[in-house]
Amino acid sequence: MKTLTTDALTAVKEVRDGDTVLVGGFGMAGMPVELIDALIEHGAGDLTIVSNNAGNGDTGLAALLAAGRVRKMVCSFPRQSDSWVFDGLYRAGKIELELVPQGNLAERMRAAGAGIGAFFCPTGVGTPIAEGRETRQINGREYVLEYPIHGDVALIRAHHADRLGNLVYRKTARNFGPVMATAARTTIAQVSQIVETGELDPEAIVTPSIYVDRLVEVTP
C-alpha cells in the first residue's frame, strides 16, 4: 500500500527546474506556506507558478519570487496592496505574467484534470483577454476557446486527510485546492491533521484520495 505521509522537504524533492507548479490559496486562505518554504529550500528554479495571486508580503509565494526561482506567473490578480515583491520583479522585467480571469484559471485547471481538450468560454469576449484567440458564435452567443492548464506538481493546503489521502477543507480555504489536485501529475497536500482511514465522512470528502500523492502534516 502506498505511504503518502512525509516531511515537507522530502515531499517537494521531485520538483524539477522548469516545472509548472500549481499553488493553492486565495490570498493567504488555503496557501500551503510550509510547502512553499520547503520548495525554496529545495532550490528548484525557472518555475512557472499558477496561483490566483502573485504573493503577499515577504513570505510564502512572495519569498519564492524574491529568491528568483520563478520565470513566469499565471494568475488572475497579481496587483495587491502587499504584492511589492512581484511588482518590483515585473517592473524590472524579471518575471513574465500571463493574466487569466479567475474563472478561466479555475476552469482551465478543471479541464486539465477532467481530460477536456479545450472549451468555449464566454468570459472575456470583446476584451483584451480575447485578442488573437479563436472565438466562435454558438447559439447566438460569442465564446473564446480556452485550453487546459496542466501542472507538474500541485502544492495545496487542506484541513484534514485520512491515511489514504482523502481530503476535507475548511471554509473558504477550500478555493483552488480541489481543482489543482486534479490538474497536476503529482499533488502534495499540507494538512493540519491526518486521521485514521474511515474517520472522514464519505459523503463529505471533497478531494478523493486518487488525486493525492503526498501528505505533509503541519500542526497549526
Partner: protein
C-alpha cells in the same frame, strides 16, 4: 448628491427579495450592511461560498473565512462552501441574479471597463470581474458619475480596456441612477441635479422616466 452610504442603501433596496447576489470588492461590499435578514438575499463570494455574512474586525477574524477582497467575514445559517471551479461555474452559468461592481467607465450600450486603466506601466489584474460581467443575470454598477477631474464615467464608448461587452443593466451613481436598455440610457433617479443639467454634462443621450 448621495453619500457612499446612501448609494449602498439605494442599491440594497433595489435588490429583489430572495436574490442570489455577488458584491464586488471595494464600494459594493458596503451594500451588505443594508440588506435586511428578512429579504432572504443570499450573498455569493467567488472564493467559494454562498451565505456569506458581514465583514468582521481583524481581531475577530477566522482567516479561513474571507470575502473576495480577502477581508474576514462571517458564515450565515444555510451557508455552503464549494471550490473555485464550482464557484465560477455558478457565476458563468447564469445562476446569480445580480452582481454589483465598481467601474472606471460604463458605455451607453452597457459595456463595462473596470479592471485596467490602460496605462502602459500599470500591472494588470482582473480577478473575477470578467467572469461576473459575462455570467450574472444582471450586472449593476455602483460608482461616482464623474472622475475627480470632472470627466464623465458614463460614456458613449469606453476608452479603457473592456471587462465585458453589453453587460451592465443599471448604473447607480452619486448624482443619478441609470438603466441601460436596448433603446438607450434612461435616467430613473436624480439626486440634487436636474435632468437638463445632467444631460448637458454627459455625452450620452438620456431618456427621462
Amino acid at each position: 448628491m448621495s453619500s457612499k452610504d446612501d448609494l449602498a442603501r439605494r442599491v440594497a433596496a433595489d435588490i429583489p427579495d430572495g436574490s442570489y447576489v455577488n458584491l464586488g470588492i471595494g464600494q459594493p461590499t458596503a451594500i451588505a450592511r443594508y440588506l435586511t435578514a428578512g429579504s432572504g438575499v443570499i450573498l455569493h463570494t467567488e472564493n467559494g461560498m454562498l451565505g456569506m455574512g458581514e465583514v468582521v474586525a481583524d481581531e475577530d477574524a477566522d482567516w479561513d473565512l474571507t470575502n473576495a477582497g480577502k477581508q474576514p467575514v462571517t458564515e450565515l445559517p444555510g451557508a455552503a462552501y464549494f471550490h473555485h471551479a464550482d464557484s465560477f461555474a455558478m457565476m458563468r452559468g447564469g445562476h446569480l441574479d445580480v452582481c454589483v461592481m465598481g467601474a472606471f467607465q460604463v458605455s451607453a450600450t452597457g459595456d463595462l471597463a473596470n479592471w485596467h486603466t490602460g496605462a502602459p506601466d500599470a500591472i494588470p489584474a482582473v480577478g473575477g470581474a470578467m467572469d461576473l460581467a459575462a455570467g450574472a443575470k444582471q450586472v449593476w454598477v455602483m460608482m461616482t458619475l464623474f472622475t475627480k477631474s470632472g470627466e464623465p464615467k458614463l460614456v458613449p464608448s469606453c476608452t479603457y480596456p473592456l471587462t465585458g461587452k453589453t453587460c451592465v443593466t443599471r448604473v447607480y451613481t452619486d448624482v443619478a441612477t441609470f438603466q441601460i436598455t436596448p433603446d438607450g440610457v434612461r435616467v430613473t433617479e436624480l439626486h440634487g441635479i436636474g435632468f437638463e443639467e445632467l444631460a448637458s454634462r454627459l455625452d450620452v443621450p438620456l431618456m427621462q422616466v
